[in-house]
Protein backbone atom coordinates (compact mmCIF):
# COMPACT_ATOMS: atom_id res chain seq x y z
CA UNK A 1 0.00 0.00 0.00
CA UNK A 2 2.80 2.42 0.82
CA UNK A 3 4.42 1.45 -2.48
CA UNK A 4 1.19 2.35 -4.28
CA UNK A 5 0.72 5.68 -2.52
CA UNK A 6 4.31 6.86 -2.93
CA UNK A 7 4.67 5.83 -6.59
CA UNK A 8 1.14 6.47 -7.80
CA UNK A 9 2.21 9.29 -10.16
CA UNK A 10 4.82 7.11 -11.85
CA UNK A 11 2.30 4.28 -12.15
CA UNK A 12 -0.16 6.75 -13.68
CA UNK A 13 2.14 8.09 -16.35
CA UNK A 14 3.47 4.67 -17.33
CA UNK A 15 -0.09 3.38 -17.57
CA UNK A 16 -0.84 6.25 -19.95
CA UNK A 17 2.17 5.25 -22.08
CA UNK A 18 1.13 1.59 -22.06
CA UNK A 19 -2.50 2.39 -22.90
CA UNK A 20 -1.26 4.48 -25.82
CA UNK A 21 0.98 1.64 -26.98
CA UNK A 22 -1.93 -0.81 -26.76
CA UNK A 23 -4.12 1.49 -28.86
CA UNK A 24 -1.36 1.83 -31.46
CA UNK A 25 -0.91 -1.94 -31.66
CA UNK A 26 -4.52 -3.08 -31.66
CA UNK A 27 -6.81 -0.46 -33.19
CA UNK A 28 -7.25 -0.68 -36.97
CA UNK A 29 -8.56 2.88 -37.36
CA UNK A 30 -5.88 5.39 -38.31
CA UNK A 31 -7.44 8.21 -36.26
CA UNK A 32 -7.42 5.99 -33.18
CA UNK A 33 -3.77 5.13 -33.80
CA UNK A 34 -2.97 8.86 -33.87
CA UNK A 35 -4.89 9.32 -30.61
CA UNK A 36 -2.81 6.48 -29.14
CA UNK A 37 0.44 8.17 -30.19
CA UNK A 38 -0.79 11.36 -28.54
CA UNK A 39 -1.62 9.43 -25.34
CA UNK A 40 1.94 8.09 -25.27
CA UNK A 41 3.28 11.63 -25.66
CA UNK A 42 1.07 12.84 -22.82
CA UNK A 43 2.38 10.06 -20.62
CA UNK A 44 5.98 11.02 -21.35
CA UNK A 45 5.24 14.69 -20.59
CA UNK A 46 3.60 13.72 -17.32
CA UNK A 47 6.58 11.54 -16.45
CA UNK A 48 9.03 14.41 -17.06
CA UNK A 49 7.03 16.76 -14.81
CA UNK A 50 6.73 14.07 -12.16
CA UNK A 51 10.49 13.53 -12.05
CA UNK A 52 10.98 17.18 -11.07
CA UNK A 53 8.28 17.16 -8.42
CA UNK A 54 9.15 17.67 -4.77
CA UNK A 55 6.68 16.55 -2.13
CA UNK A 56 4.35 19.49 -1.30
CA UNK A 57 6.40 21.77 -3.56
CA UNK A 58 5.28 25.05 -5.07
CA UNK A 59 5.55 26.41 -8.61
CA UNK A 60 9.03 27.79 -9.44
CA UNK A 61 7.77 31.37 -9.67
CA UNK A 62 8.81 34.15 -7.32
CA UNK A 63 6.08 36.64 -6.53
CA UNK A 64 8.02 38.45 -3.82
CA UNK A 65 11.71 38.80 -3.14
CA UNK A 66 11.49 37.26 0.31
CA UNK A 67 10.26 33.93 -1.06
CA UNK A 68 12.64 31.04 -0.48
CA UNK A 69 13.57 28.73 -3.36
CA UNK A 70 13.75 25.63 -1.11
CA UNK A 71 10.16 24.45 -1.54
CA UNK A 72 10.09 24.94 -5.31
CA UNK A 73 9.84 22.09 -7.78
CA UNK A 74 12.52 21.60 -10.42
CA UNK A 75 11.97 24.22 -13.19
CA UNK A 76 13.92 22.41 -15.94
CA UNK A 77 11.45 19.56 -16.72
CA UNK A 78 8.63 22.10 -16.68
CA UNK A 79 10.45 24.22 -19.24
CA UNK A 80 11.03 21.14 -21.43
CA UNK A 81 7.42 19.96 -21.20
CA UNK A 82 6.12 23.48 -21.86
CA UNK A 83 7.67 23.45 -25.31
CA UNK A 84 6.98 19.74 -25.86
CA UNK A 85 3.22 20.24 -25.44
CA UNK A 86 3.07 22.89 -28.18
CA UNK A 87 5.23 20.74 -30.46
CA UNK A 88 2.95 17.80 -29.68
CA UNK A 89 -0.01 19.79 -30.97
CA UNK A 90 1.86 20.63 -34.20
CA UNK A 91 2.95 17.01 -34.73
CA UNK A 92 -0.62 15.84 -34.08
CA UNK A 93 -1.84 18.26 -36.75
CA UNK A 94 0.81 16.91 -39.15
CA UNK A 95 -0.30 13.32 -38.47
CA UNK A 96 -3.94 14.26 -39.01
CA UNK A 97 -3.11 15.92 -42.32
CA UNK A 98 -1.36 12.70 -43.39
CA UNK A 99 -4.51 10.82 -42.37
CA UNK A 100 -6.55 13.17 -44.59
CA UNK A 101 -4.29 12.36 -47.53
CA UNK A 102 -4.51 8.62 -46.82
CA UNK A 103 -8.29 8.89 -46.79
CA UNK A 104 -8.21 10.77 -50.10
CA UNK A 105 -6.05 8.08 -51.67
CA UNK A 106 -7.60 4.86 -50.31
CA UNK A 107 -11.09 6.00 -49.42
CA UNK A 108 -10.83 4.37 -45.99
CA UNK A 109 -9.03 4.85 -42.71
CA UNK A 110 -9.08 1.14 -41.84
CA UNK A 111 -5.49 -0.04 -41.75
CA UNK A 112 -6.50 -3.63 -42.60
CA UNK A 113 -8.05 -2.48 -45.86
CA UNK A 114 -5.13 -0.33 -46.90
CA UNK A 115 -3.17 -2.74 -49.08
CA UNK A 116 0.35 -1.64 -48.31
CA UNK A 117 -0.15 -2.02 -44.57
CA UNK A 118 -1.92 -5.40 -44.46
CA UNK A 119 -0.62 -7.85 -41.85
Amino acid sequence: MSFLSSYIHYIGCFSLILIGLYVVLVKPNLIKVIIGINLMGTGVNLFLVTVGYIHAGTAPIFSEAAQQPEGMVDPVPQALVLTAIVIGVAVLALALSLAIRVYDHYGTLDLRKIKALRW
Binding site: I61, F62, P69, D74, A79, A84, V89, A93, S97
Partner: protein, 239 residues
Amino acid sequence: MRRLISLLLLLIVALGIFLCFSGASFGAEGASRAGKLTEDKVNFGRRYASRGLEENKAGNIVASVVVNYRGFDTLGEVTVLFIAAVGLAAILHARREEATPSKAEPASLIVFTGCRFLFPLILLLGAYIFIHGHLTPGGGFQGGAVVASGFLLIYLGCRGRGLRSAGVAVAESLSGLAFLAVALVGLAVGGSFLLNFLPKGSAFALFSGGVIPLIYVAIGFKVGSELGGIIDNLSGEAR
Protein backbone atom coordinates in the same frame (compact mmCIF):
# COMPACT_ATOMS: atom_id res chain seq x y z
CA MET B 1 -4.90 -13.22 -31.70
CA ARG B 2 -3.59 -9.76 -32.37
CA ARG B 3 -4.88 -8.59 -29.00
CA LEU B 4 -3.14 -11.45 -27.21
CA ILE B 5 0.18 -10.73 -28.91
CA SER B 6 -0.19 -7.03 -28.12
CA LEU B 7 -1.02 -7.68 -24.47
CA LEU B 8 1.99 -9.99 -24.20
CA LEU B 9 4.21 -7.29 -25.72
CA LEU B 10 2.77 -4.68 -23.33
CA LEU B 11 3.47 -6.98 -20.40
CA ILE B 12 7.09 -7.35 -21.51
CA VAL B 13 7.44 -3.56 -21.94
CA ALA B 14 5.86 -2.90 -18.53
CA LEU B 15 8.16 -5.43 -16.88
CA GLY B 16 11.15 -3.80 -18.56
CA ILE B 17 10.11 -0.33 -17.39
CA PHE B 18 9.55 -1.60 -13.87
CA LEU B 19 12.95 -3.32 -13.75
CA CYS B 20 14.65 -0.18 -15.08
CA PHE B 21 13.09 2.24 -12.64
CA SER B 22 12.65 0.14 -9.52
CA GLY B 23 16.32 0.43 -8.62
CA ALA B 24 16.86 4.04 -9.62
CA SER B 25 16.55 6.96 -7.25
CA PHE B 26 16.01 9.75 -9.74
CA GLY B 27 14.47 13.19 -9.90
CA ALA B 28 14.36 15.90 -7.27
CA GLU B 29 13.27 13.54 -4.49
CA GLY B 30 15.98 11.07 -5.31
CA ALA B 31 18.56 13.86 -5.31
CA SER B 32 17.35 15.14 -1.96
CA ARG B 33 17.50 11.62 -0.58
CA ALA B 34 21.07 11.36 -1.79
CA GLY B 35 21.85 14.68 -0.11
CA LYS B 36 22.96 16.48 -3.25
CA LEU B 37 20.57 19.42 -3.07
CA THR B 38 23.28 21.85 -2.02
CA GLU B 39 25.68 20.96 -4.81
CA ASP B 40 24.71 23.34 -7.59
CA LYS B 41 26.78 21.59 -10.21
CA VAL B 42 24.99 18.30 -9.69
CA ASN B 43 21.44 19.59 -9.43
CA PHE B 44 21.21 22.40 -11.92
CA GLY B 45 17.45 22.81 -11.53
CA ARG B 46 18.09 23.70 -7.90
CA ARG B 47 20.77 26.14 -9.01
CA TYR B 48 18.41 27.85 -11.45
CA ALA B 49 15.73 28.15 -8.77
CA SER B 50 18.09 29.62 -6.18
CA ARG B 51 20.15 31.95 -8.39
CA GLY B 52 17.76 32.69 -11.27
CA LEU B 53 16.05 35.62 -9.60
CA GLU B 54 19.25 37.57 -8.97
CA GLU B 55 20.84 36.61 -12.29
CA ASN B 56 17.95 37.45 -14.61
CA LYS B 57 15.59 39.52 -12.42
CA ALA B 58 12.67 37.51 -13.79
CA GLY B 59 10.21 36.16 -11.24
CA ASN B 60 9.18 33.18 -13.35
CA ILE B 61 12.08 30.74 -13.17
CA VAL B 62 10.56 28.56 -15.90
CA ALA B 63 10.65 31.56 -18.27
CA SER B 64 14.24 32.15 -17.24
CA VAL B 65 15.14 28.55 -18.08
CA VAL B 66 13.19 28.46 -21.36
CA VAL B 67 14.48 31.73 -22.78
CA ASN B 68 17.83 32.32 -21.17
CA TYR B 69 19.55 29.27 -19.67
CA ARG B 70 18.17 26.81 -22.24
CA GLY B 71 17.40 29.38 -24.95
CA PHE B 72 19.25 27.38 -27.57
CA ASP B 73 16.93 24.39 -26.98
CA THR B 74 13.96 26.71 -27.35
CA LEU B 75 15.30 27.94 -30.68
CA GLY B 76 15.51 24.33 -31.83
CA GLU B 77 12.00 23.59 -30.59
CA VAL B 78 10.57 26.61 -32.38
CA THR B 79 12.29 25.27 -35.50
CA VAL B 80 10.62 21.87 -35.02
CA LEU B 81 7.26 23.64 -34.74
CA PHE B 82 8.01 25.55 -37.93
CA ILE B 83 8.97 22.39 -39.81
CA ALA B 84 5.76 20.64 -38.68
CA ALA B 85 3.68 23.61 -39.88
CA VAL B 86 5.50 23.72 -43.23
CA GLY B 87 5.12 19.96 -43.67
CA LEU B 88 1.40 20.20 -42.97
CA ALA B 89 1.00 23.00 -45.50
CA ALA B 90 2.94 21.00 -48.10
CA ILE B 91 0.90 17.83 -47.52
CA LEU B 92 -2.43 19.62 -47.76
CA HIS B 93 -1.41 21.93 -50.61
CA ALA B 94 -2.07 19.54 -53.49
CA ARG B 95 -5.44 18.64 -52.02
CA ARG B 96 -6.60 22.21 -51.81
CA GLU B 97 -6.16 22.90 -55.51
CA GLU B 98 -8.59 20.21 -56.58
CA ALA B 99 -11.05 20.75 -53.75
CA THR B 100 -14.20 22.66 -54.53
CA PRO B 101 -15.04 25.52 -52.20
CA SER B 102 -17.19 24.08 -49.45
CA LYS B 103 -20.65 25.51 -49.12
CA ALA B 104 -20.89 25.48 -45.35
CA GLU B 105 -24.02 26.80 -43.78
CA PRO B 106 -23.42 30.19 -42.13
CA ALA B 107 -23.60 30.25 -38.36
CA SER B 108 -26.61 31.76 -36.63
CA LEU B 109 -26.64 35.42 -35.67
CA ILE B 110 -26.02 34.72 -31.99
CA VAL B 111 -22.98 32.52 -32.65
CA PHE B 112 -21.63 34.99 -35.22
CA THR B 113 -22.00 38.02 -32.94
CA GLY B 114 -20.65 36.12 -29.94
CA CYS B 115 -17.54 35.09 -31.87
CA ARG B 116 -16.95 38.64 -33.07
CA PHE B 117 -17.35 39.90 -29.52
CA LEU B 118 -15.06 37.29 -27.94
CA PHE B 119 -12.29 37.28 -30.56
CA PRO B 120 -10.55 40.58 -29.52
CA LEU B 121 -10.85 39.63 -25.85
CA ILE B 122 -9.15 36.28 -26.51
CA LEU B 123 -6.37 38.05 -28.44
CA LEU B 124 -5.98 40.45 -25.49
CA LEU B 125 -5.75 37.57 -23.02
CA GLY B 126 -3.13 35.85 -25.18
CA ALA B 127 -1.08 39.04 -25.48
CA TYR B 128 -1.33 39.57 -21.72
CA ILE B 129 -0.10 36.03 -21.08
CA PHE B 130 2.97 36.33 -23.30
CA ILE B 131 3.87 39.90 -22.30
CA HIS B 132 3.79 38.97 -18.60
CA GLY B 133 5.55 35.66 -19.21
CA HIS B 134 8.55 36.60 -17.07
CA LEU B 135 6.38 37.58 -14.08
CA THR B 136 3.42 35.24 -13.89
CA PRO B 137 2.64 31.66 -14.95
CA GLY B 138 2.50 31.60 -18.73
CA GLY B 139 4.73 32.78 -21.52
CA GLY B 140 5.16 32.82 -25.25
CA PHE B 141 4.07 29.24 -25.93
CA GLN B 142 0.93 29.42 -23.79
CA GLY B 143 0.00 32.91 -25.00
CA GLY B 144 0.50 31.86 -28.61
CA ALA B 145 -1.75 28.83 -28.06
CA VAL B 146 -4.46 31.11 -26.61
CA VAL B 147 -4.19 33.45 -29.63
CA ALA B 148 -4.51 30.44 -31.96
CA SER B 149 -7.64 29.34 -30.07
CA GLY B 150 -9.10 32.75 -30.93
CA PHE B 151 -8.47 32.06 -34.62
CA LEU B 152 -10.08 28.63 -34.19
CA LEU B 153 -13.17 30.35 -32.78
CA ILE B 154 -13.34 32.59 -35.85
CA TYR B 155 -13.13 29.56 -38.15
CA LEU B 156 -15.90 27.80 -36.24
CA GLY B 157 -18.24 30.72 -35.74
CA CYS B 158 -17.70 33.21 -38.56
CA ARG B 159 -17.51 31.21 -41.77
CA GLY B 160 -15.93 33.03 -44.67
CA ARG B 161 -13.60 35.02 -42.46
CA GLY B 162 -10.13 33.96 -41.58
CA LEU B 163 -6.45 34.61 -41.72
CA ARG B 164 -4.78 35.94 -44.81
CA SER B 165 -1.95 33.53 -45.51
CA ALA B 166 0.41 36.34 -46.53
CA GLY B 167 -0.09 38.03 -43.15
CA VAL B 168 0.50 34.76 -41.34
CA ALA B 169 3.73 34.19 -43.26
CA VAL B 170 4.97 37.73 -42.53
CA ALA B 171 4.18 37.52 -38.78
CA GLU B 172 5.78 34.08 -38.55
CA SER B 173 8.96 35.05 -40.40
CA LEU B 174 9.40 38.40 -38.63
CA SER B 175 8.97 36.90 -35.16
CA GLY B 176 11.39 34.08 -35.94
CA LEU B 177 13.90 36.61 -37.27
CA ALA B 178 13.41 38.77 -34.15
CA PHE B 179 14.29 35.80 -31.92
CA LEU B 180 17.44 35.14 -33.96
CA ALA B 181 18.35 38.85 -34.10
CA VAL B 182 18.16 39.22 -30.32
CA ALA B 183 20.29 36.10 -29.93
CA LEU B 184 22.88 37.36 -32.46
CA VAL B 185 23.05 40.83 -30.88
CA GLY B 186 23.98 39.04 -27.67
CA LEU B 187 26.75 37.30 -29.61
CA ALA B 188 28.00 40.63 -31.01
CA VAL B 189 27.84 42.59 -27.75
CA GLY B 190 28.99 40.14 -25.15
CA GLY B 191 30.48 37.28 -27.08
CA SER B 192 27.92 34.56 -26.37
CA PHE B 193 24.77 33.51 -28.22
CA LEU B 194 21.51 34.51 -26.45
CA LEU B 195 23.36 36.61 -23.88
CA ASN B 196 21.06 38.65 -21.65
CA PHE B 197 22.65 41.94 -22.72
CA LEU B 198 19.91 44.46 -21.87
CA PRO B 199 19.74 46.20 -18.47
CA LYS B 200 17.79 43.85 -16.24
CA GLY B 201 15.89 46.43 -14.18
CA SER B 202 14.38 45.54 -10.83
CA ALA B 203 12.64 42.25 -10.29
CA PHE B 204 8.82 42.02 -10.45
CA ALA B 205 8.48 45.12 -12.67
CA LEU B 206 7.05 44.79 -16.18
CA PHE B 207 10.27 46.07 -17.76
CA SER B 208 12.64 43.60 -16.14
CA GLY B 209 14.49 40.48 -17.09
CA GLY B 210 16.54 41.96 -19.93
CA VAL B 211 15.85 40.12 -23.21
CA ILE B 212 13.43 37.57 -21.71
CA PRO B 213 10.21 39.56 -22.41
CA LEU B 214 11.45 40.46 -25.91
CA ILE B 215 12.12 36.85 -26.86
CA TYR B 216 8.89 35.68 -25.24
CA VAL B 217 6.85 38.20 -27.24
CA ALA B 218 8.58 36.96 -30.41
CA ILE B 219 7.82 33.34 -29.46
CA GLY B 220 4.22 34.29 -28.72
CA PHE B 221 3.78 35.80 -32.18
CA LYS B 222 5.50 32.85 -33.82
CA VAL B 223 3.51 30.15 -32.03
CA GLY B 224 0.25 32.06 -32.49
CA SER B 225 0.76 32.58 -36.22
CA GLU B 226 2.01 29.03 -36.78
CA LEU B 227 -0.85 27.36 -34.94
CA GLY B 228 -3.25 29.79 -36.64
CA GLY B 229 -1.77 28.77 -40.00
CA ILE B 230 -2.21 25.09 -39.09
CA ILE B 231 -5.88 25.74 -38.24
CA ASP B 232 -6.21 27.67 -41.50
CA ASN B 233 -4.76 24.78 -43.51
CA LEU B 234 -6.78 22.10 -41.75
CA SER B 235 -10.06 23.93 -42.07
CA GLY B 236 -9.63 23.71 -45.83
CA GLU B 237 -11.19 27.05 -46.60
CA ALA B 238 -7.97 28.97 -47.06
CA ARG B 239 -7.88 31.71 -49.61
